[in-house]
Amino acid sequence: MAASMTHEKSWFLALALGVTFLKCLLINAYHSTDFEVHRNWLALTHSLPVSQWYYEATSEWTLDYPPLFAWFEYGLSHIAQFFDKEMLVVQNLNYASPATILFQRLSVIVADVVFFYAVKECCKCLREDKGKDLLAKPPFILTVLLLWNFGLLIVDHIHFQYNGFLFGILLLSIARHFQGQLPQVLSRLFPFKRGLCHAYWAPNIWALYNIADKAFSILGVKFKLLDINKLPKASMTGGLVQEFQHSVLPSVSPLATLVCTLLSILPALFRIWHRPNGARGFLRCLVVCALGSFMFGWHVHEKAILMAILPLSLLAVESREDARIFLILSITGHYSLFPLLFTTQELPIKIFLMLLFTIFSVTSLKTLLRKGGALLNPLEATYLLGLIPLELILNLPMTCSVVVIS
């Protein structure tokens, strides 16, 4: 019928427009210090000569992304001056006028166009699937999983970052690889002075290592095996970026993390070297490397889990095994991003969007890949459902105290 044909042709636009409108509504939501980080970078790229960019240190948020991103900020700064010239003054620390907020938020939203284009290209790489109803088509499901990804929405459009734009470039290169062109992957800088863990611990092996160290030191003091005065003052969750020493277990050096990371990804690299399995094999190896770097890397940000989740989405719509892993990884990974939004006002948004994404991914993948029984076994399902009581327990005291204090 005429109506369903329009739906066939323009569903991508509807999904893209829909998520863009949602992002616009979130313009006035909470934003983190990353907002000031990017304002500072706008200011310094605009006001200073290139030679000074990586030396400028008026603000604590010095430039720590590669030059391409710095040029991107430089380009943005030329548009920024039409919104509010004051944001481009380096000395205006923490400047956040309504025009500044509007401009910065819009810049993320507009930059996401790169991401939209990349997603469209990725959909072209999926196997043909004719004769299915729209909601059960892999390109449709993949588009929702990527465009409406919970992690990207809350990290980019509330917390404030440009991951969509950057992931767009990554996904585009993956798509080009699928389409038979050489990949051009960007590399990142490694800020060694920043410490083993980021201010918010990424849930990786070093977080467990820190906890074990803390536990041992507390037990050691309790059982009088250690002298409390001789222990270094470790404030690992203080929210500041600094180096710190471990108390009981041996301190971990950047070299150690590099070795661990390399060891973890070596089998996958070896396999792809010996028996390359085409574009899908490359993608699988990419996901393994992302996970390995996340688990063992130095100063990993919790947002880095998206580097594994987003590419895995492509594989999830085509294979049962991948869909299983994707569900467990994405639900847990997205949940691990919850501490990024700690304000009461954003709590409902967090919950609604998480439920939205989770319900969609579970039901659509279940329907798409229903041959062969349930996707998740009872243990896995229990683990994931257990996140709900966990969130309730964590939230109750916090909400009460916030309300009572004010």
């Binding site: 006035n28 939501a29 948004i349 969007l353 939205l356 309300v403 004010s406």
Partner: protein, 506 residues
Amino acid sequence: MENLSLISLCVLLGLTSRWAVSFHSYSGAGKPPMFGDYEAQRHWQEVTYNLPVHEWYFNTTNNDLNYWGLDYPPLTAYHSLVCAYVAKLLNPEWVELYASRGYESHSHKLFMRATVLFTDILIYIPAVLLYCFYFCDGSSKQKVATALCILLYPGLILIDYGHFQYNSVSLGLALWGIVGLGLGWDLFGSLAFTLALNYKQMELYHSLPFFCYLLGKCIKQGLTGRGFFNLAKISLTVLVTFALCWMPFLSDPKQPLQVLHRLFPVDRGLFEDKVANTWCSLNVLIKIKTLLSRETQLFLSFALTLLFNLPSSLKLLSKPTLWQFKLALVNSSLAFFLFSFQVHEKSILLAALPVCLVINEIPLIAIWFLLTSTFSMLPLLVKDGLLLPYVVTSLAFLFLSLYLLSALERSTEEALRLGFYHQLTQHWLPKLNLSRIIKWKFWFSLAAMAAVSFISVWLEPPAKFPDLFPVLVSILSFLHFLGFVIYFNLVQLMEPQRKKSQKKTN
């Protein structure tokens, strides 16, 4: 995809947009001494919590009616009382007699917004879902799409979660009434509607269709037999509900009179501020507000309201079907909006609700009306600092509803219920392509509304006419509403007395 997941996704999208809009400002934020509707609602919590019932509607030393005195029926007062109890638990400062006047804080705002979300989830959203599932044609995907469009109607979201009101309670209860009547549960439907009426007196705009539908149905069942029995049951339900709601006020005859005096402030004049109805628009040309006496104004408005309601009500009386009932609701509320006394721009929501209910049958016209209704409230929204959510929600509603309901494809003359028009003009204008004309008018009108929105925000009004832009908005909206009331009346009245015509299904 299973139905339950689709429904959950739809509801979650509706909830997310509602809560995201709530981040923005509210009526009277930071504007002493009077502030706005937000402060009024907070003040009612203060009054109902601290004062005995018999003082709520009276001017006493503790209750200054000039400072946001209660002017909604008792159910609103009870609702405020319940909220006040919760407020007292969280932070007693919020409802301290006198001391809490003008209280503003981030956590208080969260509390107030949360109360709106709570009643929305409890009353309005389930009613919308039930309506779509029982009374919408098409596949279950079509029903969910309709529900999503109704939930994304910008007008209600902006007023309830932006400006700050509880329209979702009264409109939700009215919708439960409609669902009840549609399912044949007349008593339940009457109960729900009576509760709605006792929450906001503006629900009177819907009362004639409810009355005529039920009366018509009883007449068809035979006034000497079952019909009379049903009529008696319904009347009893309504009377008992009224009595229960007004019970605390029935001890002293002065009480109900004072409450009615507060609910219907005839002293306040034909209209206040700029509103897109006949009187305000007429006033631009002829100063009727000063020309005619108060009594004449009252009489004129009463007479015209009744006159414009008559054809629709009579048709419904003779043919009490759900389709006629919905159209009558539209026509009645529009007639009241255009001609009644003391109409506020937010009252357009009372017409918007029944139009939402026909969005699946006549998508293009319904979407057009719903966007116009949101546009008509622009001056109010700009004053409240809600320009960004206004633009975003209106655009989102426009694109998503056109897409999900395939409105532009379903705009043939038959789909627009204008078959009779074609028969009329067939002889002297055989080549008339009504469908194309209407689509052109639709886009042109949207462009006009966008242009007026743009200039009223970006440009400064000339010094001689400081109110130019609000007047422009209200006149443009008024002309649209006039067109809509004629259209919907024609659709309702021209429907053949036999079974209704085939509707297009997907």
